[in-house]
Symmetry: C3
Subunit: 322 residues, 3 copies
C-alpha cells in the first residue's frame, strides 16, 4: 500500500480486514516489522481514539511513534500557493512537509474541514499538499471529507460480528446509516467515508436515511438506497450506524434538527435485532438514547477497540510496501 487516504488506496478490502483480525488475535506477531522506522502523527485538530489507537498500533509492530499537535504545540500553516506570508500563517506546507518527510518514514495527518467553503474542503487541499510535498507515504487520521481508518474499523467490526453470529437465510446483511440530531455543525467525513467503504465492499445491502436537505455527496453514496423515511430504512436492519452530519448542498448548515431522529429503543425494535454502531464521541440522549448505548445491541466499545487493529493492518501494509 502506497498511502491510505480513501478506499481507493486498498486493492483488497477483505484481505486487509483479515490482516487486522489476525493482529487482533495476535497483537505482537510482527513486533519487529517496524524496528528502526518512525511514524509521525500530526494533529491539526484534537483526537482521542485516533491518536491513541494509531500510536499503539505502531508500537505493536516495533515502530517509534511521535505525536505532534500542530494546533497546540506548533503554529499556523499556510497552504495557498504563491501566498505573500505577511499575515498569521508562520510556515508554508511546502517547507514543513519535506522536513517531516525527512524525519519520518510514514506521516499520519488529521485535518478537519472548515465547513465554510465546500469547494475548498472537498478539494482536500491540506492533505493533498502534504502528500505532494512530504515524499513519504501519508495516512489520513481524518481529513476534510473522509475518515478511512474509521471506515476500515467499521468493516472489521461488521465482519467480526458476522463471523461470530452468521446470518441465516439472507446472505447479505442490511446495513443502515442513519442521520441523527446534534448540537453542532459537524463534518460529513464519517458518513461519506462509511458510504464509500460500504459501496466498495459490496458485501452488504446498504441503505442511507436522513431528513430532507441532508443529502451527502453523490461521489460517495452512489450505489446505496437513500430514503427520508427512517422507520422504513430501519426495518429488518442487521446493523445501524448512527451519525450526525451538517448539510452538504447549502454547505455546513444545520437545517431540520428533529429530536425524533434520535435512535431510541423503540426505533431499534423496528430492526432485526440490529447491532448499533457509532464512531464516538457520541452526544448521549441527543444522537442515541442511554437505553440503546447501555443496552446489549450497542457494539460501540468493540468498534472503538478495533481502531487499533485497523491502524496496525494499514501501517504494516505500508511498511511492507516501502
Amino acid at each position: 500500500m502506497k498511502q491510505f487516504i480513501s478506499v481507493h488506496d486498498v486493492t483488497d478490502i477483505d484481505a486487509l480486514v483479515a490482516k487486522a483480525l489476525a493482529y487482533k488475535a495476535e497483537p505482537f506477531k510482527d513486533r519487529t516489522l517496524g524496528v528502526g522506522k518512525r511514524i509521525g502523527l500530526l494533529f491539526l485538530n484534537p483526537s482521542l481514539r485516533t491518536r491513541l489507537s494509531t500510536q499503539i498500533a505502531a508500537k505493536n509492530i516495533g515502530m517509534e511513534a511521535i505525536v505532534f499537535n500542530v494546533d497546540k504545540e506548533g503554529w499556523a500553516l499556510e497552504f495557498e500557493e504563491g501566498a505573500i506570508m505577511s499575515g498569521n500563517t508562520v510556515e508554508h506546507v511546502k517547507d514543513a512537509a519535506p522536513i517531516l518527510g525527512n524525519y519520518f518514514d510514514i506521516l499520519c495527518i488529521r485535518t478537519f474541514p472548515s465547513l465554510k467553503n465546500r469547494e475548498d474542503d472537498y478539494s482536500e487541499l491540506y492533505i493533498t499538499e502534504f502528500i505532494k510535498y512530504c515524499g513519504v507515504p501519508v495516512v489520513s487520521l481524518e481529513s476534510a471529507t473522509l475518515h478511512p481508518l474509521q471506515s476500515l474499523t467499521d468493516v472489521i467490526t461488521i465482519k467480526e460480528q458476522l463471523n461470530q453470529n452468521p446470518l441465516s437465510g439472507n446472505p447479505k446483511p442490511k446495513v443502515v446509516l442513519t442521520w441523527a440530531p446534534h448540537v453542532k455543525a459537524l463534518p460529513q467525513c464519517v458518513a461519506n467515508s462509511f458510504s464509500q467503504w460500504m459501496n466498495a465492499w459490496g458485501e452488504v445491502d446498504f441503505v442511507i436515511t436522513h431528513p430532507e436537505d441532508y443529502e451527502l455527496a453523490e461521489q460517495f453514496t452512489k450505489g446505496a438506497t437513500i430514503t427520508h423515511n427512517q422507520d422504513e430504512a430501519l426495518k429488518n436492519a442487521n446493523f445501524v450506524y448512527v451519525k450526525n452530519w451538517s448539510t452538504y448542498k447549502d454547505y455546513g448548515k444545520i437545517y431540520e434538527n428533529d429530536p425524533g431522529w434520535m435512535l431510541t429503543e423503540k426505533k431499534l425494535q423496528l430492526t432485526n435485532n440490529a447491532k448499533v454502531m457509532h464512531c464516538l464521541p457520541v452526544r448521549r440522549n441527543v444522537e442515541l438514547s442511554d437505553e440503546v448505548l447501555d443496552g446489549p445491541n450497542s457494539i460501540v466499545t468493540q468498534e472503538a477497540a478495533n481502531r487499533v487493529w485497523a491502524a496496525q493492518a494499514v501501517i504494516a501494509s505500508i511498511l511492507e510496501g516501502l
Copy 2:
C-alpha cells in the same frame, strides 16, 4: 494491588515503602516486568512532577507509557448519569472509559476538585466513574480529595531519613502538618491524604496545626492531634510538612491568610532540628521563606525525587496482581 486511590488500597504500608526503596537502590531490577503492557496517563489538569515521575517509573519496569492531556488535547467529558448532552461536554465517561480500559492495562488519572461544591468533590465522582467503567486498575495521580502517590512518597521520605539518622530516645518521630498562607484557594487533597497516611501508618506522633476555620474533614484527620497554635505544634517536631489548603466547612474559601503562618527560620528553631517537607510547587516567601527552602533542613528535592520510586512500587504491585 487492585487499584491505588487511597491508603485503603494498601495492605502493608511498610512493605510498599520497602519495595520503593529497593527500586531506588536498583531502578532497573524489574526492567522486563511490564514488557508488552501499556499504562495510560490521563490528565484533566496540569502536572509536572507527577507526570514525569510516573512516566519514568513505568519505563523503568519496561512498560510503555502514553500521556494524554484531556484538558488540552481532548475535550470536555460528561460525568452525570442520564445527561442530555446538548451542552459543552463532548463525550460521556461511560463511553470514553471503556475504550481507555481497552487500550491500556493500567489507567492513571489526575482530576482536580472544582472547589465549588463540596458534596460533588467529596463524592469523588470523576475517578469513581472511571473506575466503574474502564475495567482495568486505576491509579490516582491526584483526585478531588486525595493525592496518594504524594503521600506514599512522603512516607518513603520520612522512612529514608529515619534509616539514615535514627532518632535516639523517642521511638516515634513527631510529624507536624502545618497550614501555610497562599494566594489562591487550593484543594485539600495533599493535606487530607498526608493525614490519612500518617494515621494509617501509625509509626509517628502526628500533629496538625492550622488557623481557625481551616479544619480538614474528620474522616482523614481522625487520630491526629489538632491545634490552632502553630508554635506549640512545632515544638520538638522532627518533620514539618508545610502546605496550604482552602477551607473545608464553608467550602473552598480563603479566610484568614495571616503571613505569620509562613514557615521561617525563626519558627524552625522551635523544632527539634526538623526536616522540612513540601509537595511542590511551592510559593517562596509566601508558604516558606527562602532561608528555609535553601537551608540544610529542607528535603523537598529528595522528596520530589522519591516520587519515581513511589510510582514504580505502585505500578509494579498492580502488574504483579494482574
Copy 3:
C-alpha cells in the same frame, strides 16, 4: 562535552561536524550508547524542527526522550532571586530545576527572549539559572540570544556542500548573512549564533549585511565584514544565509522594513551561484521569494534535515563525557 550553550562549549568544531556526518551516514551506529539514560526536552516556547530532531537524535542512540511543554502543560516559572511569589508564577526555577536534574541525565531547554529588556535577555538569566540549579548537563534548544544547535547544523550543511562540490581556486568560501524583512519583531538568536560560529570556525570569508540600525552585538560579530550594501555583500557569495532580526541597540524594534531586502532570483544572480540557507520557519515572499525557495539553489530542506545529526553528535558527546 559538559554542556552545549554556545560555541565556547566546543573544543573542536571540525571534529564535531565530522561526528555528525558520520551519524548521517550511519544513524544507528551507536544505538546502545544512551540505553538506560533519559533526556528531558523542556519547551518554554513552541518548536517543530528542534523538538522532533532532538527527540529523534536521542532515540537513535538508545536514549529515552521525554518532551515537556512547560508553557502548555505546566505553569509559569519564577526566575528572580528572593521573589515573594504572590503573583502569577507558580514555581521557582530553584525548586523545579533540581528535580528535573534528578529525573533526567541531560536537560534540554528552549527559552525565547522577551525582546523588551535587552539587559535581561542578554544576561541569559533563564538558561543560566537552569544550569546553576539542575546539576546535569544542559543543552540549549535556543535561548534568549543564541541557537547553537542551529548553527552547528549550518556548519555541517556548509561543510557537506563543500565536500560534495569543492570550490576551485579560492580556498575559503564566501558566506553572507543577510538581514531580510519580516512582519514581526524576531529575536537576534539565529543571527548572533551563526555569526559566532562562522567566526569561531574560521574556515570561511564571512560577511554580514543589514540595513542601518540593525547592528548585532559586537561580541558575536567581531571578525566579520559588516556592510549596509546588500548587493555588494552578495557579490561572489558561495552561501547566502537569509534571516530577519529585530534591532539590538534600540532593543527589539522594527525600524526600516524595506521589501527590497527580500532575497529574490535577481539578487541571487549577483552571487557565485550561491546556495541559499534559512533556519525555517520562513515567511515566503517576505523574507525569500518563492522562486528562490523552490529553485535549485535552496538547500533549506537539507539544512533542516541535518538538525538530527547535529543534535545526535552533541548528545553523544555529552554522554561520552558523563
